[in-house]
C-alpha cells in the first residue's frame, strides 16, 4: 500500500468535465499522471554548448541564404532578371502594373500557409514563443524550410517586411529540430531553440549582444547561466559567419552624429513619451486590422492577396515601402531625407505593414517598424528644430533613439533594443539618450497597455497568456526547516482507528490541524503516516473501528530532511502524488523532526507576497500614525 492511494490519479480532462480547457497548456499539465514522471534529468551544459555552436553556424548561413533568396525574388519580380544580389525595389520601372506584383506573391504565400504549414504566417517571434510554452519547444522540421521560402517570396514581391523575424523563427526551428534529433529534455530544446533565434538576430544585423538578450527577454523564460553560455556561443559564431559572408560593418551604416548630451535631454524626454504612445498605437492598429480581416467573406487562403493589393496601391505611390528597405533606413538614420518625405514614409510604411501583416502573410516586423519609428524620430527632431532653432538637434540621433525605443516598448524587450540600437551605431554617446528614451517609452506603454505586447497579444487571443517577469524562485530559497511544523501531532501505532476518528470528529486541536498524522512506535520513532482518507476507507472495511492505526496507514514513506530546499520537497510530493511529508533527521531516518504539508509550502509564497504588497510606514509619516 502506498501513500499515493490517498488520492485518486489525475484523470484525463478530455473525457469530460463541464468545460474544456481553452489553452493548450492545460492538457500537458494534467494528462500525465504525476506518477509517470521519472526523476528529472540534469542539464548537459557542455553538450548543449557544442550543439549551440552548430546552431549558431547554421543560423548564420540561413541568414545569408535568406538574403540571397530575397534578392533573387526581388530581381525576378521587379526587374525581370536573374541575380542574387539584394537590391531595393524602389527604382523599378513597372508603372501601374507594379500593383500586381505583391498580389502574385500574396497568393503564393496564401497557398503555402494553407497546404504547407499555418505556422509560417505572421512575423515569427510569437510562433516561437508558443512552441516553447505549449509544445515543449518542438517545431516541425518543415517550418524550417517553408518559413524562409515563404518570407523570401513575400518580401521579394514587395512585402514591406524585414528578413529578421523569419530568420529568428527559422533559426529557432533549426535549433529545435537539432534538439529533437537527440534525446533531450524540453529545457535543453528550449535553449537550443533560443540559440537559433538569437543567432538569427545576431546574424541578420551583426549585433551579437542584442541577439543574446533578445533570446533571454522573449524566448527563454529564464535568466540562468546554463542558458546564457550556449546562447553567447551561438550568437558569437553567427556573427562571425555574418562577418565572413556579408562583411564586417554594421547592417546600417551610420555616420557619427552629435547626440547633444546634455542640452537635448528635455527633448529626449518628450521623444520618450511620443515613442511610448506610438508603440501602443501601432500595436492596437495592427491587431485591429487583423480583426477586420476576420470579417472578410472568403477563405483565409485569399487574405494575403487582399492585403497585397492594398500594399501594391500604396507602393505605386510610395515605392520606398516595398521590400526590407534597409537602404531607406540608412538614409533616415543619416538624416538624408526631408521632412515631407519622412512623414510620407512613416505613414505609408506603417499602413502598408499593418495591412499586409494583418492579412496573414509571412514576414518580419522589425525592419518596417524601424523604418517608421526612425522616420518619426527624425521628423520630430526636424520639427523641433523648426520651432526652437536654438535646439540644434541632430535628426540622425533622434532617429536612432526612436528606432530602438518604439520597438522596445511595443515588444517590452526594452533592454534588447537599447543594446540593439547601440550596436547598430557603435557609438557610446548614444547609450544615455537611448536608455532614457526607451525606458520612458516602456513605462508609458506599460501604463497604457498593461497586459499584452505586440508579441503576446496574438497568443493571448488564442488563450495563451504570456508572463515574462523573471524572478528568483522562492522555493529555491527556503529550506524545509523554516516552513515545517516543528511540533507535529503523532499517534501511537497501537491506537484503534475508531478512537482516532472520534478525536478528529470532535476537533481535537492538535490532531485536526493536519490532513495526515504521523504514526510512531513505542520509542517515539516514525513508523508510518495515516490520512483522513485512509481512516474513512479503513472504517468501511472494518466498521467496528478496532483496526490498529498502523494497519490503516502507510508504512512505505517518502520523507524529506530539514536542510532540503522546498523545491526538492515539492518535487518529491509531485512525483509520488502525495500531499504531505514527514521531516526526519538526515542521519536517523526514523527520528521525526517535523511535518510539512501543502499549506506549509504555500506559506513560503505568502512571504514573497508580503514583500511585494505590504507597504510599511515611512519615517516621514511615522509621526502621524500611532
Amino acid at each position: 500500500m502506498s501513500l499515493a492511494r490517498s488520492r485518486p490519479g489525475l484523470r484525463d480532462p478530455e473525457k469530460g468535465g463541464s468545460s474544456t480547457p481553452k489553452a493548450a497548456l492545460g492538457p500537458t499539465l494534467v494528462k500525465r499522471s504525476a506518477r509517470d514522471i521519472p526523476p528529472p534529468a540534469g542539464f548537459r551544459i557542455v553538450l548543449i554548448s557544442f550543439l549551440a555552436a552548430l546552431v549558431g553556424l547554421l543560423a548564420g548561413v540561413i541568414a545569408f541564404v535568406l538574403y540571397r533568396l530575397i534578392g533573387f525574388f526581388t530581381n525576378i519580380a521587379f526587374y525581370h532578371q536573374i541575380s542574387w544580389l539584394l537590391t531595393s525595389a524602389q527604382h523599378n520601372r513597372l508603372g501601374i502594373s507594379v500593383i500586381a506584383v505583391p498580389v502574385v506573391g500574396g497568393i503564393i504565400v496564401g497557398f503555402m500557409a494553407k497546404y504547407g504549414s499555418p505556422r509560417i504566417k505572421g512575423h515569427g517571434i510569437p510562433e516561437a514563443m508558443e512552441a516553447v510554452l505549449t509544445n515543449k519547444s518542438k517545431i516541425q522540421p518543415r517550418v524550417a524550410i517553408l518559413k524562409p521560402i515563404s518570407a523570401a517570396i513575400a518580401i521579394g514581391t514587395g512585402g514591406p517586411f524585414g528578413a529578421e523575424g523569419p530568420i529568428i523563427q527559422t533559426g529557432g526551428a533549426v535549433g529545435s529540430v537539432i534538439g529533437q534529433f537527440l534525446h533531450t529534455t524540453a529545457s535543453e530544446r528550449k535553449v537550443l531553440l533560443a540559440c537559433g533565434a538569437g543567432a538569427g538576430m545576431a546574424a541578420t544585423f551583426n549585433t551579437p549582444i542584442a541577439g543574446v538578450i533578445l533570446a533571454i527577454e522573449l524566448l527563454l523564460f529564464e535568466f540562468k547561466s546554463r542558458s546564457f553560455i550556449p546562447l553567447v556561443i551561438a550568437s558569437t559564431l553567427a556573427t562571425a559567419v555574418h562577418m565572413q559572408l556579408l562583411g564586417q560593418g554594421p547592417m546600417f551604416v551610420v555616420h557619427a552624429t552629435d547626440f547633444g548630451i546634455p542640452h537635448a535631454i528635455p527633448f529626449y524626454l518628450l521623444l520618450g513619451g511620443l515613442c511610448g504612445v506610438a508603440a501602443v498605437g501601432f500595436t492596437r492598429l495592427l491587431y485591429w486590422t487583423e480583426d477586420q480581416f476576420q470579417h472578410l467573406p472568403f477563405d483565409s487562403l485569399w487574405w494575403p492577396a487582399v492585403g497585397a493589393l492594398a500594399l501594391g496601391i500604396i507602393g505605386f505611390f510610395v515605392p520606398r515601402v516595398f521590400g526590407v528597405g534597409y537602404d531607406t533606413i540608412s538614409d533616415i538614420l543619416n538624416g538624408q531625407l526631408v521632412l515631407k518625405l519622412l512623414l510620407i514614409v512613416m505613414a505609408a510604411k506603417a499602413v502598408a505593414l499593418v495591412v499586409s501583416l494583418g492579412s496573414g502573410t509571412s514576414g518580419g516586423l522589425l525592419a518596417p517598424m524601424f523604418m517608421s519609428s526612425a522616420a518619426m524620430g527624425c521628423a520630430f527632431a526636424i520639427g523641433i528644430d523648426r520651432i526652437f532653432p536654438w535646439a540644434h538637434l541632430a535628426p540622425g540621433a533622434f532617429a536612432i533613439v526612436a528606432m530602438g525605443a518604439v520597438f522596445g516598448a511595443a515588444s517590452r524587450a526594452t533592454f534588447t533594443f537599447i543594446i540593439f540600437a547601440f550596436e547598430i551605431t557603435r557609438d557610446y554617446n548614444s547609450v544615455l539618450p537611448l536608455m532614457l528614451v526607451s525606458v520612458i517609452a516602456e513605462g508609458i506603454a506599460i501604463l497604457l497597455m498593461p497586459k499584452a505586447t505586440i508579441m503576446t497579444e496574438k497568443l493571448a487571443r488564442r488563450g495563451l497568456y504570456i508572463h515574462q517577469d523573471y524572478e528568483a524562485d522562492i522555493m529555491q530559497q527556503v529550506a524545509v526547516s523554516e516552513m515545517m511544523d516543528a511540533d507535529p501531532p503523532t499517534v501511537s501505532g497501537k491506537m484503534q482507528i475508531g478512537e482516532l476518528t472520534e478525536l478528529i470528529a470532535h476537533h481535537d486541536p492538535a490532531l485536526s490541524r493536519h490532513q495526515g498524522i504521523m504514526i510512531v512506535d513505542d520509542n517515539k520513532k516514525l513508523a508510518g503516516i495515516v490520512t483522513r482518507g485512509d481512516l474513512l476507507r479503513a472504517l468501511e472495511t472494518d466498521p467496528s473501528g478496532k483496526m490498529p492505526i498502523l494497519e490503516a496507514g502507510t508504512r512505505a514513506l517518502t520523507v524529506t530532511y530539514p536542510d532540503e530546499v522546498l523545491h526538492t520537497a515539492v518535487s518529491k510530493m509531485l512525483r509520488n502524488n502525495i500531499g504531505r511529508l514527514p521531516v526526519v533527521d538526515r542521519n536517523d531516518e526514523k527520528r521525526i523532526v517535523g511535518y510539512i504539508g501543502r499549506p506549509g509550502i504555500m506559506a513560503a509564497r505568502l512571504r514573497r507576497w508580503n514583500e511585494e504588497h505590504v507597504r510599511e510606514i515611512g519615517w516621514i509619516r511615522r509621526q502621524y500614525v500611532k
Binding site: 485518486p8 489525475l10 484523470r11 480532462p13 473525457k15 468535465g17 463541464s18 468545460s19 489553452a23 492545460g26 500537458t28 499539465l29 500525465r32 534529468a41 551544459i45 534529433f181 534525446h183 529534455t185 551579437p208 546564457f228 553560455i229 558569437t236 556573427t239 562571425a240 517590452r412 526594452t414 537599447i418 550596436e423 557610446y428 544615455l432 536608455m435 525606458v439 516602456e442 498593461p450 508572463h467 515574462q468 517577469d469 524572478e471 528568483a472 524562485d473 529555491q476 530559497q477 476518528t501 485536526s512 490532513q515 483522513r532 474513512l536 468501511e540 518535487s571 509531485l574 512525483r575 500531499g579 501543502r598 504555500m602 505568502l606 514583500e611 511585494e612 507597504r615 510606514i617 515611512g618
Partner: protein, 613 residues
C-alpha cells in the same frame, strides 16, 4: 481597506452567485495600482541615481585626497597615482595605519562596513527586507576612503555599491514602501554608484539585476535603468564621456587564436577560484587570531606595505595601472609580478577585515595576468592580437567568473574600454570561463559569505508558472458531486479519496460543500445537505493561479470550487495540491524525451505496447 472587500467577493454564498465582473474590476484595479507604483519608484530612482552618482564622485575624490596626503604630502584631489610616488621609509607603514583606523571604526562603530560591500548589500536585500542602517551610508565611504587612500589594494566600487544601496534604501524608508520597492531602490543606488564611477550605464543595470534585485522584470528594470543613466550623467558631468580604460585592440578575426582564447578562459576560471580561496583562507586564518580586533587589519596593512616596496602598483585602486597595462605593452615578468603581488596583497588585506572592494583588484589581476598570457602568445604567434586585448578579455572573464555575473562583465568591459570591435573574443573567453568555473566552485566570492551564514542565494531567475497558468489549466475538471438529498452512508466510500465534495441540487447547481472531516463524525443516515457548509470559497476558470493561491493562504483553506468565468457553471475543483502542480510545468521541462527521429520511434512503439499489457 479595498483589498479586504476584494477578498470577500470570492466567497460565494449558497446560491453560488456569479461574481466574475467583480473579478475583472479587481484585476484592472490591481494593474493600475502597479503602474502608478512603478511610476513613483521610477521617479525616486532618478533621485537615487543623482545621489548615487554624487556619492561615487565624492568617494573617489576622498580616496585621491587621502592618498595624495599620504603618498605625496599634498592636500589636493588631483589625480596622482600612488604607484609612482617616491618611496619613503614610512611608506610601508601607511596601509598599516589605515588598517588600524578602519579596524577601530569597524570594532566600535559599525560592524557591517567590514569587507567588500556587495555581499552585505545582497544580504540586506535578501534577508533584511532591504532595510539598511543609516550609519552605513556614513561609515562605509569613510572607512573605504581611509583604507584605500592609505594604500590598501582595493577598489572603491564595492563600497560605492554598498553606499549607493544604503542611500537607495534610506530614501525608500522615508516614504511608505514595500520590501520589493525598497529592494529596487537599493539596486538603483548600487547601479548608479557603479555607473557613476566607470560611466558604464549598461553594466550598472546588469550588475544590479544580476546581483541585487533577484528579478528581471519591467517594474524594477525601468527604475534601475533610469538611475543608472542618471548616475552616468553625473559621472560624465565631472569627467567627460571618454572611456575609463582606453584600449588599443587591433583585433582581426584569426582562427588560430581561437584555442588560445579557450585556454585563457579556463585559466581565468582557475584564477577566480584562486582569488576566492585566497580571500577566504586568509579570512579564516585572521579570524582565528585572538587579539584586539583593530590590530588585525593593521597587520594585514603592514604586509601590503612590505609587498608595496617591491611592487608599488599594488597600492590603492590602481586604475591608472590598469589603464596603463591595457593600453601599452609591458615585459612579461613585470605583468606577472604585478598580478601575483596584487593577488597576495588583496587576499591578505581584505581577509584581515579591512573595508574595500574586490572589483578593482579583480580588474588588475585579470588585466596583468591576461596581458602576460598575451605576451606568451606573441612568442608563438607574432602577429596575434595586441597584448591589451588579451588583458581586456581576461579581465572580463575573471570578473564574470568571480562574481558569476558574466553578462555584466561583458557589458562592463565593452563600455569601460570603448572597444566594441573586441566583442567576439570577449564574449567567447567570458563564457568559457563561466562554463569552467561551474566545475571549480559552487559559490562565488560574494555568495560564499552568505552561504556561510546559512542563507540560500538565488542564482537563476525564471518565470513563476503560478503567475502564468490559469485556474483552468490546473484544476481537476472531473469531480464527484453529491446530491443534497443523498445519505452519508450512500456516498461515503465513493468520496473517501477527496478532501471535500460539492453538494449540488437536481439542476447541478452548487448548494454547498462537504468536508471529509465532517463525514468522520456524521450519522450514516444524515443527508448531505444537512452536514454541508453553505459558505464556500470559489475561484473562476480565468483567474491566474497566483491570485487564488493568495486567497488560499489568507483564508487558510485547502480547496475551492471552480466556476466558469463566462457563465458561472461549476467546472471543477481546485485543491492546494493542484496549485502546487503548477510546479509540474517546470519539472516536465527537465524530463528527457527520446528523439523523434532515427530508429527510436520503433523502440517507443514497443515500450508503449509493453506498458499497456
Amino acid at each position: 481597506m479595498s483589498e479586504r472587500q476584494d477578498q470577500d467577493s470570492f466567497v460565494a454564498s449558497t446560491t453560488g452567485a456569479f461574481l466574475s465582473s467583480g473579478q475583472d474590476q479587481v484585476s484592472a484595479r490591481a494593474s493600475r495600482r502597479q503602474s502608478t507604483r512603478m511610476l513613483r519608484v521610477s521617479l525616486l530612482g532618478i533621485v537615487v541615481g543623482i545621489a548615487g552618482g554624487l556619492v561615487a564622485e565624492g568617494l573617489q575624490r576622498a580616496i585621491t585626497f587621502i592618498s595624495n596626503l599620504c603618498f605625496y604630502g599634498k592636500a589636493t584631489s588631483a589625480n596622482l597615482p600612488p604607484s609612482i610616488a617616491v618611496l619613503h621609509w614610512w611608506t610601508p607603514f601607511l596601509p598599516a595605519a589605515g588598517g588600524l583606523i578602519v579596524g577601530i571604526l569597524i570594532h566600535y562603530f559599525s560592524p557591517e562596513i567590514k569587507g567588500d560591500g556587495i555581499p552585505e548589500a545582497m544580504s540586506v536585500a535578501l534577508n533584511n527586507r532591504s532595510i539598511v542602517k543609516a550609519r552605513v551610508s556614513i561609515f562605509k565611504p569613510l572607512s573605504a576612503a581611509i583604507s584605500v587612500g592609505s594604500g590598501g589594494p582595493f577598489g572603491a566600487e564595492g563600497p560605492i555599491i554598498q553606499t549607493g544601496a544604503a542611500i537607495g534604501s534610506l530614501l525608500s524608508q522615508l516614504v511608505p514602501s514595500s520590501p520589493a520597492e525598497r529592494r529596487t531602490l537599493l539596486a538603483c543606488g548600487a547601479a548608479a554608484g557603479l555607473a557613476g564611477v566607470f560611466r558604464t550605464p549598461f553594466a550598472g543595470v546588469m550588475l544590479a539585476v544580476e546581483l541585487l534585485v533577484f528579478e528581471f522584470r519591467a517594474r524594477s528594470f525601468v527604475p534601475i535603468a533610469l538611475a543608472s543613466a542618471t548616475g552616468t550623467m553625473v559621472g560624465m558631468g565631472f569627467h567627460g564621456a571618454d572611456p575609463f580604460f582606453p584600449v588599443i585592440t587591433n583585433y582581426h578575426f584569426h582562427p588560430l587564436e581561437l584555442p588560445f582564447f579557450v585556454i585563457l578562459g579556463v585559466i581565468c576560471a582557475g584564477l577566480a577560484w584562486l582569488m576566492s580561496r585566497t580571500l577566504y583562507l586568509c579570512e579564516d586564518y585572521f579570524e582565528s587570531l585572538k587579539i584586539w580586533f583593530p590590530l588585525v587589519p593593521a597587520f594585514g596593512g603592514l604586509i601590503v606595505g612590505i609587498i608595496g616596496i617591491f611592487y608599488p602598483q599594488v597600492f590603492g585602486t590602481g586604475y591608472s595601472v590598469i589603464a596603463d597595462i591595457l593600453s601599452k605593452p609591458h615585459p612579461m615578468h613585470v605583468l606577472f609580478g604585478i598580478g601575483v603581488a596584487k593577488l597576495v596583497s588583496f587576499g591578505v588585506a581584505l581577509g584581515s577585515g579591512a573595508s574595500g572592494g574586490t572589483f578593482a583588484p579583480a580588474l588588475m589581476i585579470g588585466g596583468s595576468l591576461g596581458a602576460a598570457f598575451g605576451s606568451v602568445m606573441h612568442l608563438f604567434m607574432p602577429n596575434a592580437s595586441t597584448i591589451g586585448l588579451y588583458g581586456m578579455v581576461a579581465t572580463a572573464a575573471l570578473f564574470g567568473s568571480l562574481y558569476r555575473a558574466t553578462p555584466s562583465a561583458i557589458l562592463f568591459m565593452l563600455e569601460v574600454t570603448g572597444a566594441y570591435n573586441a566583442i567576439l573574443p570577449v564574449f567567447l573567453v567570458a563564457v568559457v570561463a563561466d562554463l569552467a568555473v561551474h566545475f571549480f566552485m559552487r559559490t562565488t566570492i560574494n555568495t560564499e559569505r552568505l552561504v556561510r551564514r546559512g542563507h540560500l542565494v538565488p542564482e537563476a531567475y525564471e518565470i513563476d508558472p503560478m503567475k502564468m497558468l490559469r485556474v483552468r489549466d490546473v484544476m481537476n475538471p472531473e469531480m464527484e458531486t453529491v446530491r443534497g438529498d443523498q445519505k452519508v452512508s450512500d456516498f461515503v466510500v465513493d468520496i473517501a479519496g477527496h478532501e471535500c465534495v460539492p453538494v449540488v441540487d437536481e439542476k447541478e447547481r452548487v448548494i454547498g460543500i462537504v468536508y471529509r472531516r465532517d463525514l468522520l463524525g456524521a450519522a450514516p443516515d444524515a443527508t448531505a445537505l444537512s452536514i454541508a457548509h453553505t459558505d464556500f470559497p470559489v475561484a473562476y476558470t480565468d483567474e491566474v493561479v497566483h491570485a487564488v493561491a493568495k486567497r488560499f493562504l489568507d483564508g487558510a483553506y485547502g480547496h475551492c470550487l471552480v466556476l466558469d468565468s463566462t457563465n458561472g457553471e461549476l467546472s471543477g475543483m481546485l485543491t492546494a495540491f493542484d496549485i502546487l502542480k503548477t510546479k509540474n510545468w517546470e519539472l516536465m521541462q527537465e524530463l528527457q524525451e527520446p528523439s523523434r527521429f532515427s530508429g527510436t520511434s520503433l523502440l517507443r512503439f514497443m515500450t508503449e505496447r509493453k506498458t499497456t499489457k
